[in-house]
Amino acid sequence: MSRPNRNNSKQRELLLGRLTALEQLIVQIDGSYAAASATYHDSELAARSIDNARVALEDAVKSLARGHYDRVERLLNVTWFYAKFAQDIIDAEATEHLLGRGYFIDLIEPAALVQIELFALLEQTEAMLEKLAAMIPEPWLWV
């Protein structure tokens, strides 16, 4: 009977510890985000980063179940990058709020604004296509 790989067990234990702590951290950051968005500003970037952190964490859980420890380590780092980033954004906006100002810089354009811009571009495209349509003669004139 082969001896269990102690290094693997130790590594697994470390990864499991980090995974658990990161999951708790995401919940805490999400709580801060919820409070901020209900009170002064709904940061789309913070929300997206928290979602990305969650997705990465779940991928890490799946990889841990399959014993792919290198991939787990990488995914936990990805989770940490996104979680820390979300926290930094929320902290910066808390500063703005504490200073009593209400203007928040969105580091990414909110989806609603991008949508407005896209609709406007599509309208211009429609107008150009109509111009071209008007230049095409009636079918009975086609050679």
Partner: protein, 387 residues
């Protein structure tokens, strides 16, 4: 015991996959039965997370049983392992008391110096620093600068995605590009250095230095209202972009050339900004203007073959579809269908223009119908952005 009896004996010592799946599901069932009920847990622990993991463990158990009943042993084993892991994580949450956590307190991952993880973290910190500075000072950055910042944020996300795919080299390069532009943006906003060039990799120092110089040259607030300054700022950004591209193409000579040209332009912009801030007496202005126009002429000759692309003519279908495509690529949560439609629209509109020029009216009419159809698909996909 003969050879075949021995084989049979060994076969009995190792359980078959189906037996293993059954044993693991049984272990999971036992573990679920022994798991503390919600009214038995200690208050102040992460009970919500425990509940979530417990539910997932139960779902995994049910799926494992269903898979075993259908003789899908592999899936059954996977679900059993997954269920046990969910329960293990849940129980760990129960053993941890709730308390304030900061990202830095979560066993800070150890990143080797010079690695892509460190570079990504530095980029995250740089973006955070810019955001903090802007919020603290109550600044309202110009639209073009906000767009640059959005690109830096996108670089951060792209670097992480490449890192997740284990493409460390690309992740490092993308993070580095983001850092250089973050340096420029911070210098524009704060007229100050964010990342000391002397602390960067030797071969990257010229780029960080130039980014700082270019940013500081355009940091005078009055510049934002003067067309001649905005033109120079635009040129500086093009030089920086070209210098960065040349570096990553391993063309150091070209990188140096763009930096040199950029330094001349930065000097001219700084002089212009100083003039705007402190207007000269009338007589001296003419002399200064002549010097500037000679400089512009010299730059025009120097940049003639640099291949800096100019945007397609404003108002054309080509410009419109290119702008639509860029926005969808960057912002649409599920861009695939929309991108297919916009690519078809770009291709068919180019064919339409050709058919119109050749007076192939039947073909033009057909292509026009296709463009209209693709436009409708785009409209539907764009509506989904805020669903």
């Amino acid at each position: 015991m003969d050879f075949f009896e021995r084989i049979e004996q060994i076969g009995h010592l190792r359980p078959s996959p189906a037996e293993r799946a059954t044993k693991m599901l049984a272990a999971l069932a036992d573990a679920l039965a022994e798991a503390p009920a919600l009214n038995e847990v200690e208050p102040g622990t992460h009970t919500e997370l425990y509940t979530e993991r417990l539910l997932r463990a139960k779902r995994a158990y049910e799926k494992g049983l269903a898979a075993l009943a259908l003789d899908d042993v592999e899936l059954s084993l996977a679900k059993a392992e997954s269920g046990l892991l969910h329960l293990e994580i849940g129980l760990r949450h129960l053993r941890t008391l709730k308390g304030p956590l900061a990202a830095a307190a979560v066993e800070l991952p150890f990143f080797e110096g010079g690695g892509c993880e460190e570079q990504i973290t530095r980029l995250s910190d740089a973006i955070g620093k810019i955001k903090q500075f802007v919020e603290y000072k109550g600044l309202v950055p110009a639209k073009s600068l906000k767009e640059r910042l959005a690109i830096v944020v996108q670089s951060f996300q792209d670097a992480i995605e490449n890192y997740a795919r284990a493409d460390h080299a690309t992740a490092y390069d993308i993070a580095t590009i983001g850092l250089i532009w973050a340096q420029y943006i911070y210098a524009r906003l704060a007229a100050d250095t964010m990342l000391a060039p002397a602390q960067q990799l030797r071969r990257l120092r010229p780029l960080y230095l130039f980014a700082q110089l270019a940013g500081q040259a355009g940091s005078e607030p009055l510049c934002a209202r003067r067309t001649e300054c905005l033109v120079k700022i635009n040129n500086l950004e093009k030089f920086l972009q070209s210098a960065v591209a040349a570096y990553f193409d391993n063309d150091i000579a070209a990188m140096d050339k763009f930096i040199q040209l950029g330094e001349i332009e930065a000097g001219a912009l700084a002089k212009q900004a100083a003039r705007i801030a402190n207007p000269l007496p009338d007589g001296d202005e003419a002399l200064e203007e002549n010097a500037d126009s000679e400089l512009e002429a010299a730059l025009a000759v120097a940049t003639a073959d640099d291949g800096i692309e100019s945007a397609p003519e404003k108002g054309t279908l080509k410009r419109l579809t290119a702008a639509i495509r860029r926005l969808i690529e960057r912002h649409h949560p599920k861009p695939h269908k929309a991108l297919v439609a916009v690519r078809e629209l770009q291709s068919n509109s180019a064919l339409l223009r050709r058919a119109m020029r050749q007076e192939s009216w039947q073909e033009a009419s057909r292509l026009l119908d296709l463009c209209q159809a693709e436009k409708q698909i785009l409209l539907r996909e764009i509506e989904k952005m805020t669903d």
